[in-house]
């Protein structure tokens, strides 16, 4: 019934074997400790671990930091790491997604100011502000204001700020020049729902590729992106069914393979880096815990998917207008309690036992769209299939010598991973 049950980790009663989660990845076994540190072992090594490792065995040095050796348990280190990586250390969402234009509606500069003010009312020491537009010509003035005002706010509050402009279609010369001048990263959003079309993609540094059910020829897509000078590519599924999700995983795995062939330094993939490098609570797109989305009218939603639900008539994931919301009062909102309940992995069937437990959360708003409830139905959840497939592809392609160290430039704490 479930993909977790494709392979069941053997049970060991040996006194040196501590609680852990395991998953078969290719010809290896991925072992995860309680704080999310993982190691990829050969099947033989995993078997030796289960039978009990003698004190002089070199494998103990790899496994001890994971917290999976019951006779070498460092409770202080584990407790420290669980606090550092857990939600109790959470200080607001990292990414604020402002839709300065969306589906024919354009945000006014005054509304953009309210949204930026709310983003800076969260106590995080560093924020990412993503300014998204599907009509750069109409939204240019608001986008420029939001970027300038956010820079001022960051300077005044002495906080870190990463500005990203996400543009669907042509950014236009003037806006592209403004973004380049201020060091704002431009990410071009495009659809892959067929074979790649060279005319559909202009040269750009970053791309967000929305992979539809009809997407074909992932290697050619990667070649086209490379030919256009794209240095960073983020593939996102449009899949809402299990069948489409499996097609996306196949597309992603093939594209990743091609990326690795072309860029020998390792996958230049911010999504993977964010997934693996951030604190455990910061998973791209998770409602409120990682992101807030702001509609052109100033409405605040727990995520982009929460906004999409509202546009389809279900306002469950609406938090209120930016001009009146106070971050410190959000804990009282029923939606925030729903998100806490929906995304708490230990009470989710399958998630609680999953080797990827601390690397992944399916956002409640995604569950709501795909399966009609905030916690979804994990055995056939399309997004669970996507996350597990992506993580399988990433872990099976990494090695300790070259590719994993290459992720350090993205801020990934590679000490947490041993391949």
């Amino acid at each position: 019934m479930t993909r977790l049950a494709d392979w069941t980790a053997p049970v060991s009663a040996h006194r040196s074997v501590g609680p852990h989660r395991a998953r078969r990845v290719g010809a290896t076994v991925l072992v995860a400790g309680p704080s999310g540190r993982v190691a990829r072992l050969s099947v033989d090594d995993y078997d030796r671990f289960l039978r009990g490792l003698p004190p002089a065995d070199a494998l103990r040095a790899r496994l001890a930091p994971l917290g999976v050796l019951a006779d070498a348990f460092d409770a202080d280190a584990l407790a420290r790491e669980l606090v550092e990586t857990g939600l109790l250390n959470w200080r607001g969402p990292a990414t604020h997604l402002l839709f300065v234009s969306r589906r024919g509606a354009t945000m006014t500069p005054e509304t953009a100011k309210d949204c930026v003010d709310l983003a800076f009312a969260t106590p995080r020491p560093a924020l990412t502000l993503e300014l998204a537009t599907d009509d750069a010509a109409a939204a240019g003035a608001t986008l420029r204001f939001a970027a300038r005002y956010a820079e001022k706010k960051a300077e005044w509050s002495r906080r870190g700020l990463t500005l990203v402009a996400r543009v669907r279609g042509d950014a236009g010369g003037a806006l592209a020049g403004f973004l380049s001048e201020r060091g704002v990263a431009l990410r071009v959003e495009l659809d892959a729902d067929g074979a790649p079309s060279p005319s559909a993609l202009r040269p750009c540094a970053r791309a967000l590729v929305r992979v539809g059910p009809g997407a074909r020829d992932p290697e050619a897509w990667v070649d086209l992106l490379a030919a256009r000078g794209v240095g960073s590519v983020l593939f996102a599924p449009t899949a809402r069914t299990a069948a489409h999700a499996r097609r996306f995983v196949a597309f992603y795995a093939a594209a990743l393979g091609r990326l690795l062939e072309r860029w020998e330094d390792g996958p230049n993939d911010e999504w993977a880096a964010a997934l693996l490098g951030g604190r455990a609570a910061e998973r791209p797109g998770v409602d409120l815990l990682e992101t807030l989305a702001y509609a052109p009218d100033g409405g605040v939603y727990s995520s982009e998917d929460g906004l999409a639900l509202a546009e389809a008539g279900d306002a469950t994931y609406a938090l209120g207008p930016a001009a009146r919301l106070r971050f410190e009062e959000l804990a009282k909102a029923p939606l925030v309690r729903l998100i806490a309940a929906g995304s708490w992995r230990d009470v989710q069937p399958l998630c609680g036992d999953c080797a990827y437990r601390l690397l992944c959360t399916v956002p409640p708003s995604v569950h709501q769209i795909e399966q009609g409830s905030p916690w979804g139905r994990l055995p056939d959840s399309p997004r669970c299939i996507v996350h597990m497939g992506v993580l399988d592809a990433l872990f099976s392609s990494w090695d300790a010598e070259k590719r994993l160290p290459a992720l350090e430039k993205w801020g990934v704490d590679t000490a947490r991973y041993s391949c």
């Binding site: 939600l87 109790l88 200080r91 420029r144 069937p349 009609g372």
Partner: protein, 122 residues
């Protein structure tokens, strides 16, 4: 269109079927009757057979989730309560603005100048 199934009560509790019916909200109507040891589940709506499959999957999933909630719920409740109680502090006040009122006034003027530029389309 209608689809129906008879399912054993020992596997499908009434509460799980009721919770599952919520997931079909807006897409189909669910009715429940009994012939003794089995529930007679009937779903009415477009693609009724698929909705019935989804309902029965959802009921099992709900039962499974409830068993997890029972096992892990106390710890999850304690930790999420603490998150809700302490995880939403306001950003600290800017000491410069607090000590020197003109700083806040200057910043408001800066913001207004930026707004004015944007209104002019710049």
């Amino acid at each position: 269109m209608k689809a129906s199934a008879k399912v054993p009560k020992v596997l499908y509790a009434r509460a799980d079927l009721a919770a599952a019916a919520l997931v079909l909200s807006g897409r189909g109507a669910v009715s429940l009757s009994s012939d003794g040891a089995r529930w007679i589940v009937e779903v009415e709506g477009a693609r009724a057979a698929a909705l019935l499959d989804e309902l029965l999957d959802e009921a099992l999933s709900h039962a499974w989730r409830q068993s997890r909630v029972k096992a892990a719920g106390p710890a999850a409740r304690a930790l999420s309560s603490r998150l809700l109680a302490e995880g939403f502090p306001a950003a600290p006040e800017d000491p410069l603005e607090m000590l020197e009122p003109t700083v806040a006034a200057d910043r408001r003027e800066d913001a207004e100048r930026l707004l004015e530029r944007a209104r002019r389309g710049d």
